[in-house]
């Protein structure tokens, strides 16, 4: 096969990949059906599971079929496959490359949309500061309140948590909101989530941090706005009446 025909083949395969993926990408950018990052995560996860189950089932069926069909029937039987012709050998590499790359690029681009949602914090977010230590979390609120292993936030508003560590690497992981980020000594990181309903959730550590690593967890309490404001009023340090910027509604 000459150099030119190779080029032609590559062009032939890559054009539709790029075209199809950008089409899907544009459609996704236009109108996401979800409103919070965690709902987006669930949506993407569903798609991904369908994707890998379909690939897996096709592979498994073909494998099972071949295993049954080509059982040895007599002791002296040998296999009868012949060497592939160059064009077939080339095709058996190029076609899988085409299929896998198409799927990969599609998934990769879709991932970017969700990544953007997870990393861009909305303007009106309520911000609390979390500091990890061996073994617990200290949460500071803009009103000057400090809680240990308990994070109270108002419902219906994006919540940003800034993350720091005072000793080793920890993580804040809130499984119900599908979100986590490392707390690294020496740097400030962040995560955000959007609580749609009031309720209680767990946040916990997922970076090994010593003896009580598995005991490093806290309670996330999402409160109705009125109750939250009342809690803030009751607990904020005396003499500080003005809430800081980004404070409670």
């Amino acid at each position: 096969m000459g150099k030119r025909s190779v080029k032609r083949l590559v062009g032939l395969f890559s054009t539709p990949i790029i075209f199809l993926s950008s089409l899907v990408y544009a459609a996704k950018m236009a109108g996401p059906e979800y409103t919070t990052p965690s709902e987006g995560w669930d949506e993407l996860w569903r798609e991904l599971m369908i994707d890998i189950v379909v690939i897996g089932v096709i592979f498994a069926i073909v494998t099972t079929y071949l295993l049954i069909k080509y059982r040895r029937k007599s002791p002296n039987e040998t296999g009868s496959a012949t060497k592939l012709k160059p064009i077939a050998a080339f095709g058996w590499v190029l076609i899988p490359v085409f299929i896998f790359m198409a799927d990969d690029i599609y998934l990769g681009l879709e991932n970017l949309i969700h990544w953007r949602d997870f990393r861009n914090v909305p303007q009106n977010a309520y911000t609390v500061e979390a500091t990890g230590r061996m073994w617990g979390y200290e949460i500071k609120y803009p009103e000057g309140i400090t809680t240990q292993n308990e994070m109270r936030v108002p419902v219906g508003r994006p919540i940003q948590v800034t993350l720091q560590s005072s000793d080793v690497i920890h993580t804040m992981f809130i499984p119900d909101y599908r979100v986590k980020w490392d707390m690294l000594p020496g740097t400030v990181h962040y995560l955000w989530f959007y609580p749609k309903e009031a309720g209680e959730h767990v946040f916990t550590c997922t970076e090994f941090c010593g003896v009580l690593h598995s005991g490093m967890y806290g309670k996330l309490i999402v409160m109705p706005v009125d109750a939250f404001n009342k809690w803030v009023d009751e607990n904020k340090p005396k003499g500080e009446n003005k809430p800081k910027e980004g404070g409670a509604v």
Binding site: G79, L112, H189, C205
Partner: protein
């Protein structure tokens, strides 16, 4: 490069085994060491699974015990069992026999390799004797590994010893394969295993020094007061995470490629068939994996605070790994096509691999996607995924490969009944264990947890998984019994019990004599290790 062919004295001589430079005996030394590591690390897994039966303390009330078991399990399974079993035990036994050489290029260096490895194993086992065992997981992330009262130096020196052993092995085997092939064995007629092993050693030679650097810096920080990873003094723990994964992701392919290579040998032999698309497998699958191996490490640290641009690039490079790995799997499945499949024990393991690796590979795709990864990072999903793709899949290759070479290695046949029983228990056990384990991770159960009182709802799944893991252990015992049974009661093995076309079966008896071949090997122009159907 003259090789002195040893003669064996009749009967057992300890001196002969200690000072041996014979690759077949060194292979056995590697086998004993790596299987010992496998067995002890497996016992640790059983202790951990039992501990997790209840959310609180079950068999120990001290979490440090659990953390030390987990450290040992991870470090020993990867550094003491999988890498040495494939690049020590299998490499030593197969390479000279498959390429028609009398021994490796540097037999004394080979002996140094195996004893460095043994020192590493002994050092690792001392974990259970010293008063301050390392409890830093196999990743050893600072600052914890620097602040811990545990003895991080044991970790550093275990890694360094096994690393040096690996580098010496890499130099030795690459030289052997390049320079010592018998006349007529051209690059296009090399066994797939040999190709895969070359790729693995190239990766080792490039990346092991980086791991060595990382763990050395760790001990310098801890014991000599340097500040490479100390954020308060201008260092960064993130440097270590990068160095560590820059080696440890390629290490996955150091393990995977030779394992797949062994399975190609098994599948070709037991289907008596030509490898499907040889050139595609070698250049696209094996070397394609090597090409991508060094540019995917960021997916381990997507949520550790790396810059956006590199995350976005490596989402795509990591997804692209599916291409060469897919080609490897297609080649293996394709070899079944028009074959004549005989389901002897080694072939059963290869069959098991086809399905286990499928699950392992496909559950890796979510890990490449940074936004999905935000939830599953550090959860049991990751643990279950790499147990499917590495632990379990590669173990099918190591156990299947051991049954495959057993008649050549020992000169005895094993019992098919016991072999098949062992496989059935193993295959059932791993799926009962790791399928629910994946689900547990999806639900958000973090890894490296001694207890889970914040997640009491997971107890039933945890218990189910524990019972599944007991079945795996039972399977491992049956496998061990079948091998011992064969040594004691096995029938004498013929030269080529499988009817293979590969050199080690056609050109020498079982077991091969000192010097491997009674006369120098030379192959014809139309010879092919897979030439079943001309």
């Amino acid at each position: 490069m003259s090789v002195r062919a040893e003669t064996y004295t009749s009967g057992f001589s300890l001196k002969e085994w200690i000072f041996t430079t014979d690759h077949k005996r060194i292979a056995v030394l590697y086998m004993i060491g790596s299987f010992a590591a496998f067995f002890v690390a497996g016992l640790m897994a059983m202790l951990m699974r039992t501990e997790l039966l209840t959310p609180g303390g079950t068999i120990t009330n001290n979490p440090t015990n659990y953390n030390v078991w987990l450290y040992f399990h991870g470090a020993a399974m990867i550094l003491g069992y999988q890498i040495p079993a494939l690049t020590g035990y299998f490499a030593n036994y197969y390479v000279p026999l498959m390429i028609g050489a009398k021994d490796v290029a540097f037999p004394r260096l080979n002996a140094l390799s195996v004893w460095l490895f043994w020192m590493g194993i002994v050092l690792a086992l001392l974990t259970f004797v010293i008063p301050d065992p390392p409890d830093i997981m196999w990743t050893g992330y600072p600052p914890y590994s620097i602040k811990t009262p545990g003895n991080t130096a044991f970790y550093t020196f275990t890694v360094l010893l096994i690393g040096f052993s690996s580098i010496a092995g890499g130099v030795n085997f690459l030289t052997t394969i390049i320079r010592m092939r018998a006349p007529g064995i051209t690059w296009g007629k090399l066994n797939i295993f040999i190709w895969a092993l070359m790729a693995a050693f190239v990766i080792q030679l490039i990346f092991v020094p980086i791991l060595g650097t990382a763990v050395t810096m760790l001990s310098l920080d801890k014991y000599l007061g340097t500040n490479y990873f100390n954020a308060a003094m201008g260092g960064s723990p993130l440097i270590y995470e990068n160095l560590f994964w820059f080696y440890s992701h390629p290490a996955v392919y150091v393990i995977l490629l030779p394992a797949v290579g062994v399975l190609y040998e098994i599948v070709a032999t037991f289907t008596r068939n030509r490898v499907f698309n040889y050139n595609g497998v070698v250049y696209g699958g094996i070397w394609g994996t090597v090409a991508l191996s060094g540019v995917v490490w960021i997916h381990h640290i997507f949520v550790s605070g790396m810059p956006q641009w590199i995350i976005i690039i490596e989402v795509f490079t990591t997804l692209a790994i599916s291409v060469p790995v897919g080609i490897l799997l297609i080649g293996l499945v394709g070899t079944l096509w028009k074959g004549s499949i005989d389901f002897k024990t080694p072939m059963l393991y290869a069959t098991g691999f086809l399905f286990l690796f499928l699950i392992g590979g496909l559950t890796g795709i979510p890990n490449a996607m940074s936004s999905i990864y935000i939830h599953i990072h550090g959860t049991q999903w990751i643990v279950a995924h790499f147990h499917y793709v590495m632990a379990v899949s590669v173990t099918t290759a190591i156990i299947g490969g051991t049954y495959y070479m057993w008649p050549k290695l020992t000169g005895k046949m094993y019992s098919e009944t016991l072999g098949k029983l062992g496989f059935a228990l193993f295959f059932t056990g791993v799926n009962l264990t790791f399928l629910p384990w994946l689900y547990l991770g999806y639900l958000g159960m973090p890894r490296r947890y001694y207890g889970y009182s914040q997640f009491p709802q997971f107890q039933p799944i945890q218990q189910f998984i524990t019972f599944g893991s007991y079945i795996i252990f039972l399977g491992a015992l049956v496998i061990l019994i079948s091998l011992i049974h064969s040594l004691i009661k096995g029938e004498k093995a013929p030269q080529n019990p499988w009817g293979s076309k590969s050199l080690e079966w056609t050109h020498t008896q079982s077991p091969p004599p000192p010097g491997n071949f009674t006369q120098p090997v030379k192959v014809d122009e139309d010879w092919d290790p897979y030439g079943y159907n001309k």
